[in-house]
């Protein structure tokens, strides 16, 4: 028998980046706001305290801050014909757990997408013709433009205290920044991080070839910063423990460093941890949500939490899972192409070349999560899709983003992974390798999607969500194109040896090696209820008091790390809700 809690104005599912932003923005409106977080509470001290948190085995290898598959996972298959199996051991992607969510263990790569990425289908059709779009590619426009999001990118970046160098301020190209970026209204809040040796070598080589390297935008503070909520960041000390770790130094932007203590002071905001939301409850006519039902781990019982507004702020995959379980939107059917919920799941197409230098020492123990130099000369707005035979693009980059001694050592391919030979190789090569990577877009396809698994259930008896995903020729051509651009740069740097790793023809999705935790789509935004789950304000088409935040809204993946767009969309939605929805609750479109 479920207990029922007193009604709230707003209930938020998940207290990571978007949950924290929506929490504070709604609480500022005087609403009674409750956030439900399935994991534990986390504070910089004691949870990320020095030196306990820089334990590579505990957090880097054994995933101390990640969700445990036994509590929450998906099943995965590559084709419609395969039988999906549970993702029992974390590998390809790492959903975060606890207060702060993935916002505690990210690297701090924070980008704006390009103008054409928000109108991708129109851009392709207008510039290259609809016939270059492969038959099974289901890319869409977002329903929102870069120009509309610009003030919200700006706000998010100033909230984070982003370090970097503008390349385009109101149309004026700034030397040293990214000349291909969309115009921003002002410079970064903080100057760029100091660059490591590998980044400097890469940038010199790229510049010599006529390219335009610039410092990677970093949510690792290069100096002290106080944001709009009065929250504070201290300067990064380049300890090299960002990705998979909470920051011990108050330097990496996270819900903890940027929002939570300000939010905790607000008497009309509260949150409950160890409270996993099981479903969204709908009114009988299914036109509105009435609240959520969650599992109270402490009381070991189901709880119904009524609310006037429900905001799904969990990890992208969980937002989609909750929608599928709650009957929100029609489930997507790959056979007919009809239905929307679960449609257009997409990932990220990355590749890289590793260079080995006997005579160069890179001091790999010095690094920051988003340290490095990047170039956008082969970005999605720089490529002639018709001529090159693919739709997409990448940024190309180098820098020491982690200083972890076990996982951070690059070895020439063919080296034994254990024993005497491995030890000899480690001694020889530690500190002598660097990488140049490409981080690229991934298009949406008719048979890459999310639905409920017919066989497997979770510990609450709910069907697991099933992911159907595989690499496609278009994206493999894109990454091979990047290879053809990166390898000449690498060769120009005269390494003793080098090796490349890019997806090749016929590559199949392998869930074992870590690739990226940029899982997007499934609850996509758009301007047509027949092809999207939420409208341009992230409001469910079918239930006007239900909003779905986060990267599940991406109709296909951008070429960049998603957090910048996730943050901008959160402020965009918060603004629309505050100005337009709260005074008159209704469908905003």
């Amino acid at each position: 028998m479920a207990r029922t809690e007193p009604k709230k104005d707003v209930v938020i599912v998940g207290l990571g980046w978007t949950g924290s932003i929506m929490g504070i923005e709604m609480a500022k409106q005087g609403l009674e706001v409750l956030a439900l977080e399935r994991g534990a509470d986390r504070y910089t001290v004691p949870d990320f305290r020095y030196p306990d948190v820089i334990d590579e085995l505990k957090y880097g290898v054994r995933f101390g801050f990640m969700q445990k598959p036994r509590n929450s996972t998906v099943t995965i298959r590559r084709t419609l014909q395969e039988t999906a199996l549970p993702y029992r051991q974390l590998g390809s992607f790492l959903p975060g757990d606890g207060v702060g969510g993935a916002g505690i263990h990210w690297n701090g790569h924070n980008w704006r997408a390009m103008e054409n990425e928000f109108i991708l289908r129109s851009y392709v059709e207008d510039n290259f013709g609809a016939d270059i779009i492969p038959e099974d590619m289901t890319i869409q426009d977002w329903g929102v433009t870069y120009a509309e999001l610009e003030p919200h990118f700006d706000r998010f970046e100033y909230m984070l205290g982003l370090s970097g160098q503008a390349g385009n301020v109101n149309g004026q190209i700034i030397e040293g920044g990214n000349p291909f970026e969309a115009p921003r209204s002002r410079d970064f809040p903080l100057p760029p991080l100091k660059q490591t040796y590998d980044a400097t070598l890469f940038a010199d080589a790229a510049r010599a070839m006529g390219y335009h390297p610039f410092p990677r935008p970093a949510a690792n503070a290069s100096g002290v910063w106080t944001n709009e909520y009065g929250m504070q960041l201290g300067p990064c000390n380049y300890c090299g423990f960002c990705e998979r770790y909470g920051c011990l130094n108050y330097s990496k932007a996270s819900p903890q460093t940027c929002i939570l203590d300000a939010l905790r002071r607000m008497p009309n905001f509260s949150y409950r941890t160890n409270s996993e939301v099981l479903r969204v409850d709908l009114a009988e006519d299914r036109q509105t949500a009435t609240g959520v039902t969650y599992w109270d781990e402490e009381a070991q019982e189901e709880v119904f939490q009524p609310a006037d507004i429900v905001m799904l702020c969990a990890y992208s995959l969980h937002n989609v899972h909750l929608m599928l379980l709650s009957g929100i939107g029609e489930p997507y059917n790959p056979a007919t192409g009809e239905g929307v919920t679960g449609k257009n799941y997409a990932y990220q197409m990355n590749g890289g070349t590793t260079l080995f230098f006997k005579d160069k020492l890179f001091n790999p123990f010095i690094g920051a999560g988003a340290n490095g130099m990047s170039m956008d000369d082969f970005a999605i707005n720089q490529i002639d899709f018709a001529a090159e035979g693919f739709i997409g693009g990448s940024y190309i980059t180098a820098g020491v983003t982690n200083g972890q001694p076990i996982r951070g050592i690059g070895l020439p391919s063919g080296t034994a992974s254990w024993g005497e030979e491995w030890k000899t190789a480690i001694t020889e090569w530690y500190g002598h390798s660097m990488s140049i990577g490409s981080h690229g877009s991934n298009m949406a396809y008719r048979d890459c999607y999310l639905d409920l698994d017919p066989t497997y259930t979770d510990r609450h008896g709910r069907p697991l969500m099933r992911m159907t995903f595989n690499w496609k020729p278009n994206d493999i051509r894109m990454t091979q194109f990047m290879r053809s651009k990166i390898e000449p740069i690498a060769e120009s740097m005269n390494p003793d040896t080098w090796q490349s790793s890019y997806k090749g023809e016929g590559a199949q999705y392998d869930v074992r090696p870590y690739q990226t935790t940029h899982n997007v789509g499934g609850a996509i935004m758009g301007d047509d209820p027949n092809t999207s789950v939420v409208n341009r304000y992230l409001q469910a088409w079918g239930q006007h008091n239900l909003f779905s935040l986060g990267a599940a809204a991406f109709p296909q993946n951008i070429q960049y790390n998603p957090t910048g767009v996730v943050g901008a969309l959160a402020y965009w939605a918060a603004d629309a809700i505050t100005r337009d929805y709260l005074p008159n609750p209704r469908p905003l479109v």
Partner: protein
């Protein structure tokens, strides 16, 4: 030192017992300092604000307890004193106090039943509060605070301190004139003087104690006033005079420290955290400016409010001058370096950096930090052992915490590290011994066991 004071105080009190017996006569309480109409109603919000100014909640609320319901342990040189319930509960609180009885407690330390209050209750300072604030406080506690029934633990000090009648003789020796404040005629200074000398009761910690354990001064007119004191073994730093660190702070830094517990130099620590958390962050902008104007005039009367801070007196870096000083030693990080700087590199450097300057408002400066160079190293030792936390405040909501290092450093190592800090950069303070550290660790353990 404490034992010596106990004996001394005991002797003085015993001597005065005879006098007290002779002078047995009814206690006379201080009348209102101003005549306000019988039907005077304090302005809306003034009661709560007066409570913030006087910081009633810091002492009268137990850790994690209901506000004003008492029960907080206060470690005094005389022994442990428990704060009382000041909610308007008729039986266990102050619900049956008349205005005159309430004023007598504030001004004269007299309980409703006539018993004398221990001077942990700062009536020596409160007796300078205006009648308007007394009325506001009375109205607040009677009408705005919910009554809570909480008898709480009784204070039971050892003989002779459990003889409350003795406090009467102490009061004759220790208290100053009610309502007496320093004044220059400058509106900001005078308001600041009122806030600091009266409700703020800053002197209770920051003024040294005299032979009878009274504050050695109560207003800026007294030379020893705010010249530094001690609380729970920690140095309460001087707020005036040549050794005062804050005289090197700008007005802006001083104001930010009061409002948020952090500035470009320091982070609030020890008992002062409670003052920022429960009192100072609620001061109006004007009142903060007044306190700043007053303190800066005290620190350096020539400075005035807007003058730049005095140039910090930097003595020569005395750590290994042949190697180029502290920063050079830390930067070189030679494997054979001494234990103190090595421990600093391994434990402190990530935030406080090789120059000991930390980062503005986030990581406190250790070079010239009054906690580091205080006459008593207790505060520094406690901070290394147990960590520290600046409170969440309106202007700076982040409760920044420094982790504890007691679980990974031995007493010898803490002593080495503390000694290094007290002699690094331009710091020049006495060494810390292993025994000093052991004593503080034991004190912390005893207290934890007693909880």
């Amino acid at each position: 030192m404490i034992t010596f004071l106990r004996i001394l105080t005991g002797l003085v009190l015993l001597g005065l017992v005879v006098l007290a017996a002779i002078l047995f006569m009814p206690v006379r309480t201080t009348p209102a300092l101003a005549a306000l109409p019988e039907d005077y109603t304090p302005p809306e919000g003034s009661g709560e604000y007066a409570m913030r100014l006087a910081d009633c909640s810091a002492c009268h609320t137990a850790e994690g307890g209901v506000p004003f319901a008492g029960g907080r342990k206060i470690e005094s040189p005389l022994g442990t004193i428990y704060s009382t319930n000041i909610t308007p509960d008729e039986d266990t609180g102050i619900g049956s106090y008349s205005l005159d009885e309430f004023r007598a407690a504030l001004y004269d330390g007299i309980r409703q039943d006539g018993a004398h209050l221990y001077p942990a209750m700062p009536y020596a300072n409160y007796r300078k509060m205006s009648e308007a604030d007394v009325r506001a406080l009375y109205a607040f506690f009677m009408d705005e605070v919910e009554p809570v029934s909480n008898a709480g633990p009784e204070t039971a000090l050892p003989f002779p301190f459990n003889q409350r009648w003795g406090i009467r003789t102490w009061k004759w020796a220790a208290l100053s004139e009610p309502g007496e404040l320093s004044s220059t005629g400058d509106a900001a200074y005078d308001r600041g003087a009122y806030l600091v000398e009266a409700p703020g009761h800053c002197g209770a910690c920051h003024t040294p104690r005299n032979l009878v354990m009274g504050e050695a001064g109560y207003t800026a007119m007294d030379g020893d006033f705010l010249m530094g004191g001690e609380i729970d073994g920690w140095t309460a730093p001087p707020l005036r005079g040549p050794d005062s660190a804050i005289r090197n702070w700008s007005a802006e830094d001083l104001k930010l420290y009061l409002a948020s517990g952090r500035n470009n130099h320091a982070g609030v620590n020890g008992e002062m955290q409670l003052v920022v958390r429960d009192s100072l962050q609620y001061f109006t902008n004007e009142d903060l400016d007044a306190v700043v104007a007053y303190l800066r005039a005290l620190g350096d009367p020539a400075a005035g409010d807007n003058a730049p801070p005095v140039d910090p007196p930097r003595t020569a870096d005395r750590l290994d001058p042949s190697a180029g000083g502290t920063q050079a030693v830390l930067t070189a990080a030679e494997p054979g370096m001494a234990l103190g700087p090595r421990l600093y590199l391994d434990n402190c450097n990530a935030c406080h950096f090789v120059d000991g300057r930390g980062a503005d408002q986030v990581f406190p400066e250790l070079d010239g930090n009054p906690l580091v160079t205080a006459p008593s190293a207790t505060g520094l030792i406690d901070t290394i052992l147990n960590g520290a936390e600046v409170p969440s405040t309106t202007v700076r909501p982040y409760s920044l915490r420094m982790p504890d290092f007691g679980h990974r450093l031995s007493d010898e190592e803490v002593a080495e590290l503390a000694t290094f800090l007290r002699s690094a950069w331009s710091n020049s303070a006495d060494a810390v011994t292993t025994a000093d550290v052991t004593a503080r660790r034991e004190t912390a353990e005893e207290r934890a066991a007693a909880e």
